[in-house]
């Protein structure tokens, strides 16, 4: 996993609440056995019409969304299915951080495991971001701060171990493997 330390980008906003992972990546695209290539199917049913043409009014299709790496989404983003393909699709599309007031548990975990940064903000900050799509923001993972162009700086919660993994680009499997002695002891005691 590549290290994630600092993100600077304009935002793209999807204000809908409860965006489920079936919307982020519909089930019919889950038959792939690789992690690559999901970006083109990201939000497929919102992004394309039935003939497969991009819907011009959809936020991600608008010219100002081009090269946006930060997605601002409504409350409870990522609910529903545990499909990690949702995080893969967002990353493959170019999204590096998602900002919302609340994240569904499994989506949040999956995102962190892939270097997609979930940023939980308070209601006023969220409202400002939704009102100002395209705003140039920066996110400092070390300091766990989100900086808005109006000079406002907000702290966001990030579990210490997840922060360490993001900053150093290490994944958790290495850490788990290093616990082998403890795991073996547990297994011995529970035969």
């Amino acid at each position: 996993m590549p290290a994630v330390t600092f993100i600077r980008s304009h935002t793209v906003a999807l204000p809908a609440t409860n965006i489920d992972t079936d919307q982020i990546i519909p089930a019919r695209f889950l038959t792939s056995t690789s992690k690559a290539g999901f970006g083109k199917h990201l939000f497929a049913d919102w992004r394309y019409d039935s003939a497969g043409n991009p819907k011009p009014e959809f936020a991600l299709n608008r010219p100002e969304a081009k090269d946006a790496h930060v997605l601002v989404a409504g409350r409870n983003i990522g609910c529903g299915s545990s499909r990690e393909h949702a995080a893969w699709a967002l990353l493959d599309f170019g999204i590096q951080a998602v900002i919302s007031t609340e994240f569904a548990d499994i989506f949040r975990t999956n995102s962190l495991k892939n270097g997609l940064l979930p940023v939980v903000v308070d209601e006023p900050t969220h409202a400002w971001l939704l009102k100002n799509p395209g705003a140039e923001v920066s996110i400092d993972v070390e300091a766990t701060t989100l900086n808005l162009p109006n000079g406002t700086q907000v702290k966001f919660p990030l579990e210490g171990f997840a922060r360490y993994c993001l900053l150093n680009g290490v994944d958790e499997l290495g850490y788990l493997l290093s616990q082998d002695i403890a795991i073996r002891a547990y297994e011995q005691a529970h035969r």
Binding site: P26, E84, F161
Partner: protein, 462 residues
């Protein structure tokens, strides 16, 4: 109860800097969320740590037409066929016990775990599938994980976890006649919302829960995730033990007695504190049906689409082709799906058949009946339930996830209303443009007969 199971599985305790290392007793796997995890193991030269605690089945992208399962007809979706093939390769290479497409023990992962007796009280159970919460019905701590974590469990049999908070759902009294466990869980989700359980492990408790069968308890815990919960649990009791006693992989002999003694200690101690709790009076409930595009948009069957006004709500109603104030029981039904890990067990098929017996599907209505497992299918056929469905005009299929998510090509056409016993009414869940109405098997069957959403209590079933 959650804390007891948690404490029993801590390999390395959590600190402010690091999450706990939690041992996993049972890892259930399927074809969709594992291929990338095996690729990761292969690239790191890692082995499967505990083949004895790992089981693989095929359910999500598998066909349900008999000729495709057993007759050698090709799987319609080419990439799905490849995915099924890949699981066979991975299982062989890593030494995982696999129930392949033709195996008589195959079925939806959350149906077969309990059926085999692998799902047991006090276990930690994970699967790359959000409905793993189902297994909490036995007093197990069971939750869905992503593919990266599937890799962690394959390689180390452990996960890094922070302890969740606890949320008691106290359900008093008794469900009235004609009101089911599905109606109860839909009512709970309607009350606490689709993110009301986020960060919590739910414990369903109280007299109404204690009266439920294991099948009904599984329906309840299955949909805990639809409230955003990490897991849902129900204390094991005589009903749990009775169910497990007859299963092939439950402990036997002295091991059974020892297990019973262990399991009896699991229920939450009297006076224990929960981080949050709510009370629900089961006696006040009626059958419930969803009208929107998430399971929290749910109303009593004798009610109507509520008036609201925010843009997301309006968008959902537009997608559903419904208007605020419209009676729920007036909504037309084109399609009926009976099955899924929520309501694909034998008792669900029995309950639907009891309503449907002697009736025909309304003109133009299509109904698909997909048993949760091959074992459920055989048991249903032994009772003649398949004939009841066939006589009514429904299709009787092989087991799998099928039309719950339409990965295998079992789809609802755009614009059609589908009353479904599954768990998610998200946009496009059953097919692009499909309009899903979640309900109980009884409500689905009654609605199939009338061709519109119908209260099953209008059909006496004695």
């Amino acid at each position: 109860m959650f804390e007891k199971v948690w404490d029993d599985h801590v390999v390395v305790p959590e600190t402010t800097d690091t999450p706990a290392v939690l041992f996993i007793d049972l890892h259930l796997t399927h074809e969709v969320t594992t291929p990338q995890a095996y690729t990761e193991l292969r690239s790191r030269g890692l082995k499967l740590r505990r083949p004895d605690l790992t089981l693989a089945t095929m359910d999500h992208s598998t066909p349900t037409r008999t000729e495709q399962v057993f007759g050698g007809a090709p799987i319609a979706v080419d990439s799905a066929a490849k995915q099924v093939k890949q699981l066979e390769i991975n299982a062989r290479e890593f030494g995982v016990e696999l129930f392949n497409l033709q195996d008589s023990r195959r079925g939806i992962v959350h149906i077969i775990g309990p059926e085999l007796g692998l799902t047991q009280p006090g276990k930690t159970i994970v699967c790359g599938d959000s409905h793993t919460s189902t297994h909490g019905a036995f007093g197990a701590l069971a939750f869905g994980i992503g593919t990266t974590e599937v890799g962690h469990v394959l390689a180390t049999q452990c996960l890094l976890q922070r302890r969740a908070k606890t949320f008691a759902i106290n359900v008093t009294n008794e469900l009235p006649r004609g009101v089911t466990a599905k109606d109860l869980i839909l009512a709970i989700i309607g009350k606490i919302g689709v993110s009301g359980g986020t960060g919590y492990v739910l414990e369903f408790r109280g007299a109404a829960i204690e009266r439920l069968s294991m099948d009904e308890r599984m329906t309840i815990c299955n949909m805990s995730i639809e409230a955003g919960a990490r897991a849902g649990m129900i204390a094991p009791d005589a009903t749990t033990f009775e169910y497990l006693r007859a299963t092939p992989r439950a402990p036997k002999g002295d091991a059974w007695d020892a297990a019973l003694a262990r399991w009896a200690k699991l229920p939450t101690d009297a006076g224990a504190r929960f981080d949050r709790s709510i009370d629900i009076d089961a006696a006040t409930l009626v059958p419930m049906v969803t009208y929107g595009t998430h399971p929290g948009m749910v109303a009593p069957i004798n009610g109507s689409v509520p008036p609201f006004g925010d843009a997301v709500f309006e968008k959902a109603l537009k997608y559903m082709g419904l208007k605020a104030g419209e009676p729920i029981a007036n909504v037309p039904v084109n399609n009926v799906f009976l099955g899924s890990c929520t309501n694909g067990r034998l008792s669900d098929l029995r309950n639907a058949a009891r309503v449907l017996r002697g009736h025909k599907l309304a003109q133009g209505v299509k109904m698909l009946v997909v048993p949760g497992s091959q074992s459920v299918k055989r048991a249903a056929e032994a009772e003649g339930l398949d004939q009841v469905f066939r006589d009514a005009g429904a299709e009787w299929r092989e087991s799998g996830c099928s039309m719950c998510l339409g990965m295998n090509g079992d789809l609802v056409p755009a614009g059609h209303y589908s009353i479904s016993t599954s768990n998610r009414n998200f946009e496009g869940r059953q097919g692009v443009g499909a309009r899903t109405l979640l309900a109980s098997p009884e409500t689905a069957a009654a609605s199939a007969i009338r061709g519109r959403v119908t209260d099953p209590r209008e059909f006496p079933t004695n």
